[in-house]
Amino acid sequence: MTDKKDDRRLILPPSATVSRRQALKMGAYGLGGIAVGGSLLAACGDDEEAAPATTAAPATTAAPTTTAGKDKIKAAWVYIGPPDDNGWTQEHDRGRLAAQAALGDRLETSFVPNIGFDAGTTETFQQLVDDGNDIIFANTEYAGLLTEVSDNAPDTKFCEINGHYYSDNLFPFYLAHEKTAYQLGVAAGHLAGNGRIGYIGAFPTATAFNDVNGLLLGARSVNPDATVETVLVSTFFDPQKAAQAANALLDAGVDFLFGVMDEPTFLQLSEEAGVWTGYWNLDFRSAAPTKYVSHFDLSEFGPFYTEQCQRVLDGTWVSQDEVWLLDTPIGDFGPNVPQDVQDAVLDAGAKLDSGELHVYAGPLNDNEGNERLAAGETIDSLGAYAIDWPVDGVSGISPVS
């Protein structure tokens, strides 16, 4: 019987210092060794003491040895949805095609769509490893379903969006979007007459917290009474659930509706209700021709995928000690957004980029009344990735810790 490694996940602390990052790195080596040791023992089927790191790889502080460059590599993408979902997965696939176009014959790409969170997922990743892919990208956090495979496939590189696990061959990447949400919040503060903003979320993750917090803080910079009402529907792609949530929020009287859905049902309902709306993934003004405000622009996937594949080609790919942040600029405005609102949004963006303005600036309380940020303290994009609490003024979602 084998005691499984009981702490397989490494969580990046809110503000990782250099020394702590170094420790994380070393921890990752040690855990990798334990993981291998553990599964070896499991195969032997005896013993209670799997833990001592006698089988662990030496915890050197040197960078992982880079492999020699290659003439041609294979890369695979694992998608949670279909590549024509008009949203999240479509943008990732656009990124894949951009990498393909940039690297031409030297890169062979493939993708597997509609991979959910069940026992078959591990087998999917394993098959992609067995097929000789050099690098595999996951377009959602598959956590243990992925690391079960990556820990035993040291020669394959992995990049997992929104992930929390770091090892020699796996690191997470993330769209830093708290500033974008703040900018959209500025627009909402101007456009929502009653100051009430609705938000349709999927899961209580950093993505959702930065959405609602950015919206609220941006809106409050204009209208100090603004609020954000949240409905979480536990899925990114379910038009029925999204429609239910949208109707509930619209019936309740919100004057601005945003969401992290991968399909535009809620945009259409907003349009019908005459309520301003925006979209996460791409320009979808066709779903709400008159009430469209803007969207989060996900064009950074292409350059990111290209760069990672290029590094594998060059033999310079290394894992990272901290989450790889991608920019998420705000997209073009809808036709009816007044010029002064557009100016205010762009002005806020410029101030956020220059550091004159911060999304998270103390004093800030969460919505249960606990002080989270003292006066004078700020949180940057890296810290925002670890945020798991909604600011005061957001309802419908609770702090995780």
Binding site: D46, F117, A119, Q126, D131, A143, F203, T205, A206, S234
Partner: protein
Amino acid sequence: MTPLASIASAVLSVTPWRLERRLEVDARRAALTRIGGAVGAMIVVGILLLLTGRNAFWIFWQALDAVFGRQRGIEGVALRAIPILMTALGVALSLRMKVWNIGSDGQFLMGALAAVGVGIHLDGPGWLVLILMAVAATLAGAAWILVPALARAYWDVNEIITTLLLNFVALQLVTWSALGFWRDKAAAVIQSTREVPFTLPGIPGANSVTIALLVPLVIAAILWWVFRSTTIGYEIDTIGGNPRAAGFAGIAVRRRILVVMLFTGAIAGLGGMLQLSAPGAQAMNAGFSAQFGLSGFIVAALAGAAFWGVIGGGLFIASMFYAGIVLQTKGLSVYIIFAIYGVILTGIALGEIAARYRVVRREAADESEATAGEEAAAPQGAGS
């Protein structure tokens, strides 16, 4: 008559032929017609793939190679088969007395949930915790079918509805535990419970298959023996044949129904605990059961509740599902794969009909009309 047999019979009604039930179902023929059905369906699938411009030979080769060409494939099939076999054996047991337990998915989930509860809260020697997890899972699976079983046994409430609906309740409980009281706060998008730190010992020489694989084989052997050699098995079969006659013969029908249903739930529940030793499945989320209960139900129904048939059928369906996962990574659309599953299962179902019926010309069958009529009037188990 099964629904499919009714359809076949309706189709034949416009022809000079009709279906006639065979007096005896020969086990060898039963196996051969099912295999024939599967092979025939694969030929149909191949033709359809070729007609739509896909290289059917390449696809079949990839599927065979992925499953049988390497140890990983064989282990992958075994891992997929364990939960399917457990739910299928539970359903097959209930089918022997014509009780339709559609709720094995819920019993499977509740068993796993109880095992998770034990595994994340108890500390101690691994073997002891694992045994306690198995006990908890077995009891939880039985408990989850207790109300439908009581209602069926004592108030004749249709168990199809009650067991089916409890599946959704079980799934909600799993989601609640993953979001709430046993939530793993480090997990984000995959909302799951905390991980159970104990797994079953592996089979020597295997990378990921544990001794969990032996459990369905042992249970199949026990059930086979019970129905071959014991009075209890004979009584259950008698109830399945005709519950009223069984009552007149002095069999405690209601109590037997109750106990058998509890056992079917217990087996599915234990299956949930076994699944916790599969790779990547140490924590529970809403996707913990990849419709294992439904797959198990199909296996049991197609196997005609024969326990060794369940093992063979379960391994076949597991191979099919595993090949489907591999083919997806080769670029075959998931919708085409589902269509292939459907055609193959239909082929096996037709094979099952072929084992129990034969096609005769109407004129020639006139004198046997009387017996067929009697059969139709005989009391039928719900949904049969």
